[in-house]
Symmetry: C2
Subunit: 350 residues, 2 copies
């Protein structure tokens, strides 16, 4: 019930050693289940350690061995998709005796670098970079220094780090196909603009999937791509231009849910009714999608799974693997009212 550990013990290896009547290096080995320790001693040592509330001093450890800490860099806390990823990371890490610590890069390469430096300085055993905005070259530099796994950047030929992604191209295709099945062909893609440079990013792949599938279905004349930064105001004005222009599309497929919500907002302000006049689709399937006032069709990319797999790979790298692995999960379309034209009879499914 209490839960909280009796602290301020400050017991060190030496204290445990003198309590158990053995040498302090014996304690070190006994507690790490190292080779060359008799069962009787291990038991005695463990008992003493337990009683004294011994906890290894991470800084001291960091000086010689591992710190059992993983650094996770996310670009933006506001995107609740990242929270989902972190959930998977945190669980998997703690089950392996590691602790995950989060840093925030604010989508600015400068800040990202500072955070990464800080993590390396603190001797973190491995780094998990979620949707970093730095260049592949810089990623290589980081990966050279410390075991690294990257989520959200498609670099299947990277050798010095692993990548974990959802198949963004397929995700985008699913959307286009779904809309076409609803007899909607005039589909625009709303992307994120103003990023440093072409980066092998998820955005590229989503856009490519969109373009390719449009082409495949013979809808190439309807291809239309607009973009805005992450700023709410910019998203709104881009959406306004798109929806009040003369080429207003029948559907808008947004690179992330939040952008979709803004688009829906602008549409409402323009007096458009959804889904009759306009259909909107998002990406990430964040919790807000399920709210009836949005009921937003979206692509689920299984953030938790992504986090788990990435952590698994990272721990493998920390353990010594050097050959690269690239994990891709198939995304799923979650259809909701925002794109289902013919509504089902009654039902207010709570």
């Amino acid at each position: 019930m209490s839960g909280i550990r009796k602290r301020s013990s400050g017991a060190t290896l030496r204290d445990v050693a003198s309590d158990a009547g053995v040498s302090f290096s014996a304690v070190s080995k006994a507690l790490r289940n190292a080779y060359g320790v008799s069962d009787s001693m291990r038991l005695r040592v463990q008992a003493s350690a337990e009683r004294l509330g011994y906890r290894p001093h991470a800084a001291a450890r960091g000086l010689r061995g591992k710190t059992f800490t993983l650094g996770v860099l996310v670009s933006d806390l506001h995107n609740s998709f990242f929270s989902e990823i972190f959930g998977g990371v945190s669980d998997t890490a703690s089950m392996a005796g590691y602790q995950a610590m989060l840093g925030v890069g604010q989508v600015q390469p400068v800040v990202e670098n500072a955070v990464i430096d800080a993590m390396i300085d603190r001797q973190m055993d491995g780094l998990l970079l979620v949707a970093p905005s730095m260049s592949p070259a810089d990623l290589e530099i980081v990966a050279e220094e410390v075991p690294t796994v990257v989520i959200g950047v498609h670099l299947p030929h990277a050798t010095s780090f692993d990548t974990v992604n959802n198949d963004d191209e397929t995700g985008a295709r699913l959307v286009v196909r779904h809309l076409q099945e609803q007899s909607i062909s005039d589909i625009a893609f709303f992307t994120l603009a103003g990023l440093p440079e072409a980066r092998g990013t998820t955005l590229e792949f989503r856009e490519r999937g969109y373009r390719d599938e449009m082409q495949l279905l013979g809808l190439q004349q309807h291809i239309q791509v607009v973009g805005a930064s992450m700023d709410s105001g910019e998203i709104r004005s881009a959406a306004l231009r798109l929806l009040s222009g003369k080429r207003r599309p029948r559907a808008v497929f947004c690179w992330t849910d939040y952008a979709a919500f803004e688009v829906i907002g602008v549409a409402k302000e323009l007096g458009l009714s959804l889904p009759e006049d306009l259909v909107v689709v998002g990406y990430d399937n964040t919790p807000y999608c399920a709210l009836p006032q949005h009921s937003l069709t979206s692509i689920d990319q299984f953030g938790q799974l992504l986090g788990q797999q990435a952590t698994r790979l990272l721990l493998e790298r920390v353990a010594g693997r050097t050959s690269p692995e690239h994990f891709v999960v198939k995304p799923t379309l979650v259809t909701r009212d925002s794109t289902v034209i013919i509504k089902p009879s009654v039902s207010s499914n709570l």
Copy 2:
């Protein structure tokens, strides 16, 4: 432009020393601007350090002195209010040469304790606990061990740590008064249920403010409090009970924005129109409130400012202050369409 630091230098104090032609302890002092170093030497050392790309080894530092790391514990990443706080923390910390690292407590005291332990083990110089769900007694235990500042728990008499809060009571009063000015008197309060225990929490204060102000305005017969956990399903069923029951209120004041969004959703499903049939108010003024489909009136508690002040206090504690300080910021009501009955003429204010 490049930005990324030349890594893998691995330069240590000794390397810098031999490069500059001085002893390594001289380097240590020179770089920390310690007493007893001539200007000429300081300059020479700084030049060498710069050239070799020297970075202090945090683990080694942790063994003797500070780690220049602050641990931030948040209960739940999904609440984007916390992101806002962290923004303020991060900025203030890095300006003082500190790095903030985030841990997530999942609203479970067990996990919270594990994360706190991990932070203490890693010799973090101070802890910033955001809306922790642990007991005041446990907070004291933690604070005894390491400089601590708590955000989001009202304990104005705590001596071993500082607190930073918005004035939840006033916030709630603002809401009630605002609604009454709109001639709405039948106001219910929607709170968070199923927490460990009474904790001196923000919830308590919001509820108290609500009750007191209702009383003051002579609306005591309309006082009605319902609650649900953080789970979306539970919120929805509680909202359904409230809104379809015979005592359906005219307004629902929710302890946090997300709950308000769920309530709005349920209301829509029930065919209620807002704001004519029902009025909803939230707390935190998260970015989603501004979306036209919500246009949710909410209380802004200035998360960024909260984070900045908390960090300032924490750094003071790290520097040695032991007398407690308790900072309170006045919240502000941000009115939006969800509660403004008579709509302004035209305007689609983008």
